[in-house]
Symmetry: D2
């Protein structure tokens, strides 16, 4: 039998990208200029245009920029991720085509472990250290048994796609995901909290003090939010002006 490994990380790495903040401006200006734009970035006017586009829900100029990521995350994260259908493309590791590696997700000690409230009003709270230690032991134990069963089934000659039926949703899997900038913002606005950290141009996070949970979407699951936060950092670096406008407007509820 193979000893499993456990981890609490979600890997997100930029693989490739297309466009800049200026691509957004160029796409928008074709409406009013009617020509391919070859003018340099205008630090006076262009941030204002991007801000206006974001505020007034002109979404299409943000679709000409693209980002490709490599991700390693547990299956239960992909279960939520792949429900995003528009403007995102996925290729994921297959349990039909290969034997899955014995890597499983356990929550880190910072992850809120206790759920209170009813649907639509859940609050997640820390729990005790004892509760955490017990949970990690219990999960790790369960994962090892599941993987042992997987290997026994494979050893008996059972097809990979049947043997994997006993594997838990916490097993790690890899994917490439490519999205345009508009679909990335839609993903982030649904999968990060409204009072999320701000990775922007130096200003104070514009929303930090005004958060009213009664007005805004329910909390995302922490593990997909961890993936989203890593994508958000890349977004802030690649397209800083658009990111600033996103934080100001889109996060308030797209």
């Amino acid at each position: 039998m193979t000893a499993i490994t456990v981890g609490s990380d979600i890997r997100v790495e930029l693989v490739d990208h297309m466009g800049t903040d200026r691509s957004v401006v160029n796409a928008a200006r074709v409406s009013t200029k009617g020509e391919a734009a070859h003018t340099p970035w205008d630090a006076e006017k262009d941030p204002g245009l991007i801000n206006y586009l974001m505020r007034d829900k002109h979404g299409t100029p943000f679709e000409h920029n693209a980002l490709q990521f490599f991700v390693r995350a547990p299956i239960f994260v992909y279960r939520e991720w792949h429900r995003h259908r528009i403007g995102l493309s996925y290729n994921e590791e297959s349990g039909r085509y290969k034997k899955l590696a014995p890597e499983f997700y356990i929550p880190s000690v910072e992850r809120n472990l206790v759920q209170e409230g009813k649907p639509g009003h859940y609050v997640f709270l820390p729990g005790t250290r004892d509760q955490y230690d017990k949970a990690v032991t219990q999960l790790s134990h369960a994962y090892q048994i599941a993987y042992d069963n997987y290997e026994v089934l494979l050893h008996q000659g059972v097809a990979r796609e049947v043997a994997r039926m006993c594997l838990p949703v916490s097993i790690y899997s890899s994917q490439y995901v490519t999205c345009n900038l508009r679909s990335l913002m839609a993903f982030l606005s649904l999968r990060t909290r409204r009072d999320a950290p701000y990775f922007g141009l130096g200003q104070e996070g514009p929303l930090a003090t005004t958060y009213d949970s009664a007005l805004f979407p329910s909390s995302p699951m922490r593990e997909i939010e961890m993936a989203a936060e890593k994508m958000e950092i890349v977004f802030a670096e690649l397209f800083p002006v658009t990111y600033d406008a996103y934080c100001k407007h889109r996060r308030m509820g797209p």
Copy 2:
């Protein structure tokens, strides 16, 4: 601890639908007539028009018919299903919002259990009865342990979304899925074999004798094919003329 139940079925039930074969014809005829069609079904001309649309890849006239299904299937089936993004809508049971029931999938004795070949050329073969019995025992055993661990974690006060991390991908879950007829055909053409049973108007299955596996897509996973076959029966009953044209053309490779 709760005793689990196991099953080998995929439930698919029609909930609602919109349109008829005539809706396809009406949508197509707006191109050439330019008026809303109020003529009765023309048994001479209308099947020929539907056949022509299917053959020549005129897909849009098939998008005005819709079907809604209720499905109960294991999670590993939804993992493939939800990769279909265009023209399909999903709402699924949530392991964050409710305690999942102890129902798990095991293969039936008819399910090919053994996988041979390399990616793109897999063949699935029956395996021995002994192999099957051992696999079912092993899987059921693994499921019971996983569910026991799930209940222990819940009992310790751990949030449902954390406790469920140890549950296997074979646990049953429910969904509503709504699709238009074009997206249903795209789904079926990728998730059933080319020599699949024919549920049509009485003729011999048109493809049964001409199947050349070297020319066509790899085999679908049997469990999603089981769901697809049940949807295909509903399709054949609701839209028989379109179904006949689908069998003749689309299945040959969309």
Copy 3:
């Protein structure tokens, strides 16, 4: 030569539909119940659930309801309409397949005729009666000449798809459009003004007094708004509880 006819109407007729307000509730409840819902409409709880879904951007439960419309509108309206790509299906009359009828759009006397301001801040104002009369005469004259040229070209044996190159974007064309309820709401929120008439359950329009144009999207073109308003009336009649929630939340800017 054929005498043209002019009109100022956009026809929108419901052809078919699927689902009720209860379909929205059933789809949402599968998350927390995990079974197909067979309970009757609960007038206490169900409107509150729909309201919650709308407020917190849970869009998918609204995708299981569908509406099919027949539309007759000028081409410049379809030019905007067909930019809506997600969850909408179109079949339109073809100038390649048939000779187009001599029907053209002219603005009605109520249509604001004068444009002031710069992109993003346009205001449309009435203009004078004299201005209107002159514009209608000028347009009608131009349409007649264009259609005369079209017929001459057809008479010379030129293909319909070439002859129609001289026809103006105001010529009427027919389409079927089918959309789900979520995509309809997205369409309406972008193609009607925020202080649009309210076709709901008897209450005063909730937004009438709070409109601040500085905060919300630019005005839609009046002619696509006319189509949207007619779809909105159908929406209010078919799905009144969802419509009320839409007016309360989505119109504020989805």
Copy 4:
């Protein structure tokens, strides 16, 4: 009044792109390797993998490559183009936001001018030189009158979006279009003929001798095919191995 200009060209210029043939291979290999690929291009195996993906309709690995184009084409071309909804993003010049320039499309002398047959079986034939000359004169004349009327209406203070109602569908407009490689191939397969020129790796066009029009889709409109051909040349240059596989398989009927 302003003298119009006429032209017979469709401009298509590559603005930006993302990925290479190797991106396709990397995305596909995550299924079987489960890791981000860092191996160099394998001239032995990788073309075979791309060929297999294309043949067996594994579409998703082609969605991680993107192309952005600037296009200048008449409105009747965009009317067909914008019906492609999935995986394509558009921003187009606006007749609401700017005065449109007096540039109009006329067919070149090579464009087949005569249409014969019935819907689904049209054939386009050259026509006589006299027919062509008359058609061009007639069209140019109609365009000048239309543009004169447009300017009169603008001069009378009528809003641009009203004045443009008299402009013909042959007026040029600009757009940015961004698409992924899968959606580009879907576009090309529907908007070029099956016996289209081959821009590939030096081999004879594989389909040139086997074309049977009775088995395949109707002819595309020549003007959108002109745009498609220019995109196809860019495709062949940027992603030559994928292009070869596309010509071999996808063009035969997607």
